[in-house]
């Protein structure tokens, strides 16, 4: 079992992305639902709401991207793998 660290790293990378995507997905769902609600109530403000929504979504999505960066660090720049 020479490559235990590699195996654990790949498993950890998969876990990081899969669980790291859960919370941002829930958050984005809530954000989009609220934006839909706001647009339904006030269709005039659709432009402002969707512009703010896109920026907010990109901010939330960044949390998942952080998990992805950690996963790629584990896969490609693992400090414990020579």
């Amino acid at each position: 079992m020479d490559n235990t660290i590699q195996m654990v790293s790949i498993f950890a990378a998969a876990m990081a992305v899969s669980f790291g995507a859960v919370a941002p997905a829930l958050g984005e769902g809530r954000a989009v639902a609220s934006a839909m609600d706001a647009i339904a109530r006030q269709p005039d403000s659709a432009g402002t709401v969707s512009r703010t929504l896109f920026v907010g979504l990109a901010m939330i999505e960044t949390m998942a991207i952080y998990a992805l960066v950690i996963a790629l660090l584990l896969l490609f720049a693992n400090p414990f793998v020579k």
């Binding site: 991207i65 952080y66 992805l68 960066v69 790629l72 660090l73 720049a77």
Partner: protein, 231 residues
């Protein structure tokens, strides 16, 4: 898929300095922006030409954003904020040119931007409030918060760097994976998404830089707003 997104390979060497792909793209974008600006602003007139009108519209939009986000007159910040936005936007979109990889998809370019924002925050903070005044902001609300405030200064810059890097790099990465799975035209929707992500990330980076600098110069604003005749 052996190509790591975290490493860059040197294309050639000038003396001891290794020149990588992102460096060349960065300098090309810089040359493009500078030459474009020089070419357009060489013959400024009161009755503007088409290019000058577009440029004035753009500068006006940047001014409006600075005014809205930082609540200050945009004069001293226009050059830095505008350059950051235009450069990151062009860098993110440069991956649309075949064979060019976006320099922001490599950590070094983003780290350089983060360092610039970090230094600019300190510079504008010290210039607006003086050294002791700027250091005094670390004791807000109480002196107990000093370590937390110092850590916050650093971690927010790190999150700024990793945000830009992760978003652009993941776009490049997903494009490569999809291209290796399916043929010629399948990655095009992903590239379209990439264009939108690139624009939004350039905007977010700029807005956050504005917020950081704005928070460093914020107290001055409250003082000046209490004086009635200053705007």
């Amino acid at each position: 898929m052996n190509h790591s997104p975290l490493e860059t390979t040197a294309l050639f060497h000038i003396g001891p300095v290794a020149i990588t792909g992102p460096v060349i793209v960065t300098w090309a974008i810089m040359a493009f922006v500078v030459l474009f600006a020089v070419a357009v602003t060489r013959r400024l007139s009161l009755l503007p030409s088409k290019a000058q009108t577009v440029l004035e519209l753009f500068v006006g939009a940047i001014d409006e954003q600075i005014r809205g986000t930082m609540q200050v007159e945009p004069g001293p910040y226009r050059a830095l904020i505008g350059t950051i936005f235009i450069f990151i936007l062009l860098a993110n979109w440069s991956s649309l040119i075949p064979g060019v990889e976006a320099p922001t998809a490599h950590l070094e370019t983003d780290a350089a931007f983060g360092a610039i924002v970090f230094c600019a925050t300190i510079f504008y903070g010290v210039r607006t409030r003086g050294l002791s005044g700027y250091l005094a902001t670390f004791t807000e609300p109480t002196w107990v918060m000093i370590p937390l405030n110092i850590v916050e200064q650093i971690t927010r810059i790190f999150s700024l760097i990793v945000r830009l890097f992760g978003n652009v790099m993941s776009g490049v990465f997903i494009g490569a994976i999809v291209l290796s799975l399916a043929g010629l035209f399948v990655p095009i929707p992903f590239m379209a998404l990439d264009v939108m992500t690139g624009a939004i990330q350039a905007y977010i980076f700029t807005v956050l830089a504005m917020v950081f600098i704005g928070s460093a110069v914020a107290e001055q604003r409250q003082e000046s707003s209490t004086t009635p005749n200053r705007k």
